[in-house]
């Protein structure tokens, strides 16, 4: 008896001892483990200009930095590598003053020359100009070490957004690169808080901090660690096991699956981005062409139920203007009295359908005099389960007012091709995004992007344009006056609400989870200094410089 007991106790205490040692070690973690990209094998690419967007996260917004960062929570541009800007010469010239005392991670000084060079390299290699900056720019020159002058071909004030958020690259390195389009930039030199590639393997890579970062004392953490995760299931498991600290993934029933396992440290924050997910209506369809039908469909949708069943209650029903959350400040003061077709109202839906000449038959199905039935397909990407469920709810809703809607799923490639060619009737999809609602409305109502059915249109899939809106867009592009900008947005909003070119479905949240066991000072609803989601580059810079070891 005694002989067997002693080894047993020794083993147990030995394991306890090991356990304690392990726990102490684990209480501090050197690197912040992050998930942003679904990959199974890393490819070494740190080219922030790469048009394919194939550079590793956070190349543009971590290794490299922009002039200004748009903070989607406050709705403002925050000066970063630039300090200030000024329009002059009737908004044809933009002057920017550039920050002093910033160094590249190889020790060389950063200056306005680098800023001018970044734009000029895009002029030389048009493939790099993914924002079409040279469609409106005429010349970019550094006037001194701390001042850059952007001269425009034509007045185009919204061009500021693209200029401000451009990642700046070092001239002294990139002027020796022969083909910057195909350059993978394996050893990046940047101004950002994390610049040193400590390790790069196909399963894991580590990005060390820039010890000479221009914001003194920042970043607070030593390195970022990026293991590969092919899909959200692996991300969820890694979050639960505590091996992942920060992720931007969609997790179903996050309260039960993730938070309830450790209420103290498992956090998530899905703030509204201000943008909206739409039920796109093909306005070239002979029936959907009628605004009454579009509004009737919208009235018939019980968005509360869509959000609850389709989106796990993570978001809220869409506002009729198509913008919400932090973008609500753009709502026209009279908008709510004018139209309310995003509020569930079966009576109004039926009324509008009757007005349009579609009467309910005995079967419950509506059709018009010539026997045309109200029947549509809603197309969704296969596997996008939240949208598929949302579409199913919409389909149930529409049945109540006599509209038959069939949910059909397609592979992403096939889906996007149908959207772009206008070969659909109804579809759940996203719309243009930006710092103001301007890109949204332009994508919704401008004739500039309009294409006939069968020809690829990269935006304006629903194929709608309005001459009145076109003149407002031109007016908007010429002004830098804030009150005038607001007035134009209000007018655009009124047009949007009147014509319902597409149907806002629900507000779009930004997915993000974090584990505060080893790190603190993540943004949250209580401390909303930026969005927690790493998916809105370069906004993650706010998080990267503020996160701290516990």
């Amino acid at each position: 008896m005694i002989f067997t007991k002693i080894p047993f106790f020794t083993t147990v205490s030995f394991f306890l001892f090991i356990g304690c040692g392990k726990n102490k070690e684990i209480n501090k973690r050197d690197g912040l483990t992050v998930y942003q990209e679904a990959q199974i094998s890393w490819v070494r690419n740190f080219n922030p200009l790469s048009p394919a967007g194939s550079a590793r996260w956070p190349t543009s917004g971590g290794i490299y930095e922009p002039l200004f960062i748009y903070n989607s929570m406050s709705g403002e541009f925050v000066p970063w590598l630039a300090l200030d800007y000024e329009w002059e010469n009737g908004n044809k010239v933009l002057n920017m003053s550039i920050r002093k005392g910033v160094k590249w991670s190889d020790g060389k000084l950063f200056s306005a020359e680098d800023v001018a060079f970044t734009f000029n390299i895009k002029r030389k290699h048009r493939a790099l100009d993914t924002r079409d900056s040279w469609g409106y720019l005429n010349e970019v020159v550094a006037k001194s070490d701390t001042s850059v002058r952007f001269e425009f071909k034509r007045v185009f004030v919204p061009g500021f957004d693209a200029i401000a958020t451009q990642s700046i690259i070092p001239k002294h390195i990139w002027n020796k690169i022969e083909d910057p389009v195909k350059f993978a930039n394996p050893n990046p030199v940047g101004t950002g808080p994390f610049t040193e590639i400590i390790r790069f393997d196909n399963q894991l890579w580590e990005l060390g901090k820039n010890s000479d970062y221009w914001q003194k004392g920042k970043p607070h953490i030593n390195k970022l660690i990026f293991p590969t995760f092919p899909s959200n299931e692996q991300v969820t498991l890694a979050l639960l096991s505590g091996s992942l600290d920060w992720a931007g993934a969609f997790i179903p029933a996050v309260e039960r699956v993730f938070v309830s396992k450790n209420t103290e440290n498992h956090k998530y924050w899905f703030p509204l981005t201000g943008h909206t997910t739409f039920l796109h209506t093909n306005t070239k369809d002979p029936i959907l062409n009628d605004v009454r039908i579009r509004k009737a469909i919208s009235y018939a949708i019980d968005r509360e139920l869509v959000v609850k069943v389709g989106m796990y209650d993570y978001t809220e029903p869409a506002h009729v203007s198509g913008v919400s959350g932090p973008m609500s400040k753009w709502h026209s003061p009279h908008i709510n009295q004018k139209e309310d077709w995003t509020i569930y109202n079966l009576e109004k839906a039926n009324q509008l359908l009757n007005d349009a000449g579609f009467y309910q038959k005995k079967s419950g199905q509506r059709s018009n005099e010539s026997g045309q039935a109200l029947e549509f397909d809603i197309i969704i990407v296969s596997g996008w389960s939240d949208w598929i469920r949302s579409a199913q709810v919409v389909s149930q809703n529409l049945k109540k007012v006599g509209i038959k809607a069939n949910v059909k799923t397609y592979d992403f490639g096939a889906w996007i091709s149908r959207m772009q060619k206008g070969e659909f009737q109804l579809a759940i999809g996203w719309a243009e995004k930006g710092a103001t609602p301007f890109p949204l409305y332009k994508g919704m109502m401008s004739s500039e992007y309009l294409q006939p059915i069968g020809v690829t249109a990269d935006v304006n899939w629903h194929r709608f344009s309005l001459a009145a809106a076109d003149s407002l867009f031109r007016k908007y592009e010429r002004t830098s006056d804030q009150t005038e900008i607001k007035e134009i947005i209000y007018e655009l909003q009124n047009l949007f609400v009147e014509h319902a070119p597409s149907i806002p479905l629900f507000a779009e949240p930004a997915w993000a989870e974090c584990n505060t066991k080893y790190f603190t000072n993540f943004p949250s609803a209580e401390n909303p200094y930026a969005t927690l989601s790493p998916n809105y580059s370069p906004e993650q810079l706010f998080v990267l410089v503020n996160v701290q070891n516990r």
């Binding site: 199974i40 094998s41 048009r126 389009v181 195909k182 498991l237």
Partner: protein, 312 residues
């Protein structure tokens, strides 16, 4: 000839898919990219409006000199680099588990056929057939959840641990083996039954033939009859199956790779198809095609060795 036909199909089939790669990459930004960007993207990838036949000729030419082009999804990484990094892991995981599963399955099949009607013969086939009938992803997920997450016996994914450096060192090899264990086990478990059953069935037929009875009558040791007389003949159809499976190893084990975050070819192929990455798809299909052709050739040789009748 087979290779040429395969190369031609590799070229045309992906191009029959709707959509184009630039549009798909643009769409992945979900409205965050300005529409003007798409022209820049098309320019970058060299997507031209050249007639398909012209593209086909330049494709054949570059294939002949072994130039697989530049990937679109992983721009600007050459396709050869991407494939070679995934290839080794796939051969390691899928290849090794196939060989293990084939050897164990065939041996078990031989054994239970020899002792047909015995205890093992009545237990193993139904049990393994039962396991094999489960959907693989379900079985793998349950295994990952129980042995990886709840019990922490095996890592939750990846091909090697965070604190080892890839290279020829003991800790890396041990870590790689530890990481491969669970995915390999699940793959072996589901495929074992098939090998075993087919071997058992053919073996039983063989055991009933006259020459086996003759060998018994001659008084040969039973081990010799079992392995050299019966199994050697019975294994031939299984060998053909093995050859086919060996060729398809290179297409990767998609579900295994996704569930265990394993960096192999299968997931790469999925990515390539999703992004309409023509060069990467062509490269992957080409390696698979050549692997299948090579495996068939090897099996032909193996059968030549095992089966004297084919040697005339």
């Amino acid at each position: 000839m087979a290779a040429w036909a395969a190369l031609t199909l590799n070229f045309f089939i992906p191009r029959l898919m709707p959509g184009d790669p630039a549009a798909i990459i643009f769409a992945r930004f979900r409205g965050k990219l300005k529409p003007e960007a798409i022209q820049a993207l098309r320019e970058t990838f060299g997507l031209t409006n050249e007639p398909l036949l012209g593209q086909y000729w330049s494709y054949l030419k570059s294939m002949l000199i072994g130039d697989l082009g530049i990937s679109i999804a992983y721009f600007p990484e050459p396709v050869t680099n991407i494939i070679s990094s995934a290839l080794l892991w796939t051969i390691f995981l899928a290849g090794v588990s196939l060989i293990i599963s084939f050897s164990i399955g065939t041996l078990l099949g031989t054994f239970i056929a020899w002792n047909r009607g015995g205890k093992l013969d009545s237990i193993l086939p139904p049990v393994l057939a039962f396991i094999g009938a489960f959907p693989y992803f379900w079985l793998a997920m349950v295994a990952l959840y129980i042995f990886g997450f709840e019990l922490s016996w095996f890592p939750l994914g990846h091909a090697y641990g965070e604190n080892v450096t890839p290279g020829f060192n003991i800790s890396f090899i041990l870590s790689a083996l530890h990481h491969a264990a669970l995915p390999a086990l699940t793959m072996i478990l589901v495929s074992l039954g098939g090998w075993m059953l087919s071997m058992r069935n053919i073996m039983i037929t063989t055991l009933g033939t006259d020459y086996i009875s003759f060998a018994h009558a001659k008084g040969l040791p039973s081990l010799q009859i079992m392995l050299r007389y019966a199994a050697r003949n019975a294994i031939l159809p299984n060998f053909t199956g093995f050859g086919m499976a060996l060729g398809f190893v290179l297409s990767g084990a998609l579900l295994t790779e996704i569930i265990f975050s394993y960096p192999g070819q299968g997931y790469l192929l999925l990515q390539a198809v999703r992004a309409q990455d023509f060069p990467l798809m062509q490269g992957l299909f080409m390696t698979i095609t050549f692997a299948v052709l090579a495996a068939n050739w090897l099996v032909d040789i193996a059968i030549l060795i095992f089966d004297p009748r084919t040697r005339k």
